[in-house]
Symmetry: D2
Subunit: 293 residues, 4 copies
């Protein structure tokens, strides 16, 4: 068994900006603290939710350091270190490890469609330079490359690639991972509307930005699954489904910011070209949040 | 609540042919009898598995009558009556009702892509001519038209359209149906590899050809769900998953025939252009079946 | 060189129905006569435009015989004989040959996704029973099966498969056919909005329902290509493009009927589930036709 | 008429690296000089071929300056300045303008799927800061966002957005652009295997990396079109088609490097994760190049 300390609800913070579109570290820490004390089982800065690709190297480093300081060992920390070039990915992975990250997450960002050999070479080169575990992350919608289950299996032969995050939205891939890899590998679901299906299929955890808004419901779903109570899981899942679909459809950074503000919490600004939700979208979101009360 | 007697495992028989590619009613009855006594909760002749579109009108009528005779009230019977034209669909629906069918299943077969209004008009025209319930069946892969959840919702306004069968393979559509339609409508899963995900999402039943080969495992999955035992359901599902994927990938009529013959049961012949599985495919199938023993 | 008499504009008649949705042979002959004298180089009854799959065997035979009578040798006739089963396809192909068809068109209609071997077996079985040339027709959107260029190449090894009709809408497949098959094989374009691109790529002809409405423009495009006058071809093509897109988007049988009626010509009725265009669609169509005057 | 000096063959240089994967400016200038004197009508550094997204800001600036120096007014220069954030895009656009670029090319790179309003806002913000023309570039395969023809039309309302480059590979979009925008806008084809179809549809130019290997054939195609000689254009196009397909399928930076080396020209190294073509691929490429001699 490849062991890791990650399981359950892995919460993704947003990266808030100030009015001049500079990273707002003070507000970031405030928002992160909410996640740490929410009951989530881990936090994951510099994910898609944290608009990692829109940040400069210095900003990524500042977020990494702020996270480890603020968490201070209370929950495991998974840091996103993906980059288009192998060299830069190694750089950020080493930085995260030195700062105290418990694991790093890597999506093979693609401009030119990468071959399977190139992707394996990319992970292998990074893995050789660090000793913390790596979560290989598949998300064709953001990363632009779709790693087949067979390729994910190849990646898992690299010693410190110990976790898979599947965000392709295809339940059958989770079936494949579970069947092929058995209990040796932890697979995580990154597709919010598939949370119930993924846990039913045996997912170890759920990587999600939803705990920024509804941590109790996210954790209640996990707890029902842990208690083998499918009926309760179903009930809790359908309760939060509308919100999960809304935040995915609108884009997580835009939607989480809007949701925080509806809840009376400062959400900061977005970095261009990303723009806030429109009034009508915020109105719809209010109705969804009100239903949950 | 729109009530129907259908739930659980709805078993789909194949239509076997003789050497001259004529429908073999004697063998059909033998194979059907196996399904009736297998513990399946209903049977459904003239589905895709039963190669309905490859049959003449007379052959369809003969299969319908043979089924009702053989079943003789032991389980509910759902008869496929789909046709490209509305007129022919009405003809077969009336024939099935008169023969004693408990319900009919209709997929909007499409050569020309039908508009939503045309599809509603089609179902409505048929519904007006019969009084048994109708299962509206969505299967873009065979029928060629993909009915949106919103269209399915429109169809359910027709009084005797009381059941939905979703075979698009998209769990999120099942979520939509469950959430939008609540407990008023029974939705059935027609995608074999999604059996666990669909039951987790709240499906009333599973329409499947698998009971021709492994009825105990199919029923065990349903029973685990009924007992709210997700862990058992997961275990039973993963046991049968390889077989479910195999029969779907190879095409149900070809695969069920091959599987029956591996199990020592006469499976009859296929009608051209369909051809039997190749030796290497039969070899693979044997390994999958052996694993289950 | 595999020789055939087909080239240029191959015109597809609709199959009109009377008020009771019975085939209206009298009106069919009237509409067909318009195509024969329009300057089109051939006619093709029982295509998708002619809603062939919605007709009974007897209706198909009546249309075939009516066509050959009416044409009476003035232009070559290509008869659609596709059917889900091999046996029925042979039946209709033999009927068409006996009735005097110059060639038959076959699309591998698919309910169950056919394997390449099944498709080759299907064409081969038909080809052995007739001696007129066969046009193999690829149209994933209506037939449900997408024949790869490599499979089309295999089909062309069957002696009387001498023509390919490509309606997948992918110019690059036409490039492949032209490059791989050179001048030995005639390939025809069945995608109206690709008419210019297909002729530029070297297509021998254009299979189209547009001559029911604008034969002069269709023929003018072909003539410009024959004269190696790309600028004229471009001009003529852009003139008719809006109409070509409209009739494809709305479905050819619905759109041709509507267009005929706008032009003051009787178009008959459609067979359910197909319904006429809506008022707003007819209004848009009028504007498109007016622009052409 | 929105006038620009760009038309014909716009040649894209690769960005070569040294053994340590540092940008090799000396080799870049050598390779660029070949393009300048090849007869191509313009050059375009920092495109996808030039692996722009894999470069640091400093490297992009060095390439921009090296290009303008080397070209020294002999042909128009189009510089790629795309970036995920609006701020960085403005920065690079201003740099390019100051360095002497005749125009800049911008693709809306997407990590989070951008809304139409965000894309318009992005272009508008950049356009306000520069006075050279902008080519809006649509390439879903690399950029991850697919701009609809309607959105492209909106972008063209921004005064200095004067050119469109379409690389979606869909001829019908070119038809739309030509029809909707008439002669006011120059549209360029970025899909190599569609070169003939695009020119037939009225494209002003062809953005391509092929002149690194076969400039005479690329220019011959354009000249045939200019002379309204479709038959010659067809002949010249089919001659080069295999090469065009090969370089696209293998990825332009990998393929151009390999092709240069087959021709005895130094191609430099790639930056990881990109790897060179395999021996078997190079072998196939040699055969394709030999056929052209």
């Amino acid at each position: 068994m490849k062991n890791t300390s990650f399981k359950g609800i892995i919460a993704y913070p947003i990266t808030p900006f100030d009015k001049e579109e500079k990273v707002d570290i003070r507000l970031y820490k405030t928002l992160l603290e909410r996640l740490i004390v929410s009951g989530s089982h881990a936090v994951a800065p510099l994910g898609s939710t944290g608009v990692m690709p829109y940040l400069t190297d210095e900003e990524k480093e500042a977020i990494t350091e702020a996270t480890l300081q603020q968490v201070n060992g209370r929950v495991p920390v998974l840091v996103g270190v993906s980059n288009l070039t192998t060299d830069k990915t190694i750089y950020h992975a080493k930085f995260a490890e030195k700062a105290g990250a418990d694991a790093v997450m890597i999506i093979p960002m693609s401009y030119w469609k990468l071959t399977d050999d190139e992707i394996v070479g990319h992970y292998d080169a990074v893995a050789k330079q660090i000793s913390v575990p790596i979560m290989a992350y598949n998300n064709p919608a953001t990363g632009g490359v779709d790693m087949s289950p067979a390729l994910l299996k190849r990646l898992l032969e690299i010693p410190n690639v110990t976790m898979i995050k599947e965000s392709s939205g295809d339940v059958q891939r989770m079936h494949y991972l579970k069947r092929e890899l058995g209990d040796d590998v932890a697979f995580f679901n990154g597709s919010n509307p598939l949370a119930l299906a993924a846990f039913s299929a045996g997912a170890t955890g759920w990587c999600t930005a939803a705990p920024n808004l509804i941590p109790e419901l996210n954790i209640a779903l996990y707890n029902a699954i842990q208690k083998n109570d499918l009926q309760e899981a179903q009930k809790v899942f359908y309760k939060q489904l509308n919100l999960l679909k809304f935040i995915v459809n609108k884009g997580l950074p835009r939607a989480i910011k809007a949701g925080l503000e509806i809840q009376g919490i400062e959400g900061g600004f977005l970095r261009s070209p990303l723009k806030p939700l429109k009034e009508s979208e915020i109105h719809d979101f209010k109705l969804i949040l009100e239903e949950l009360e």
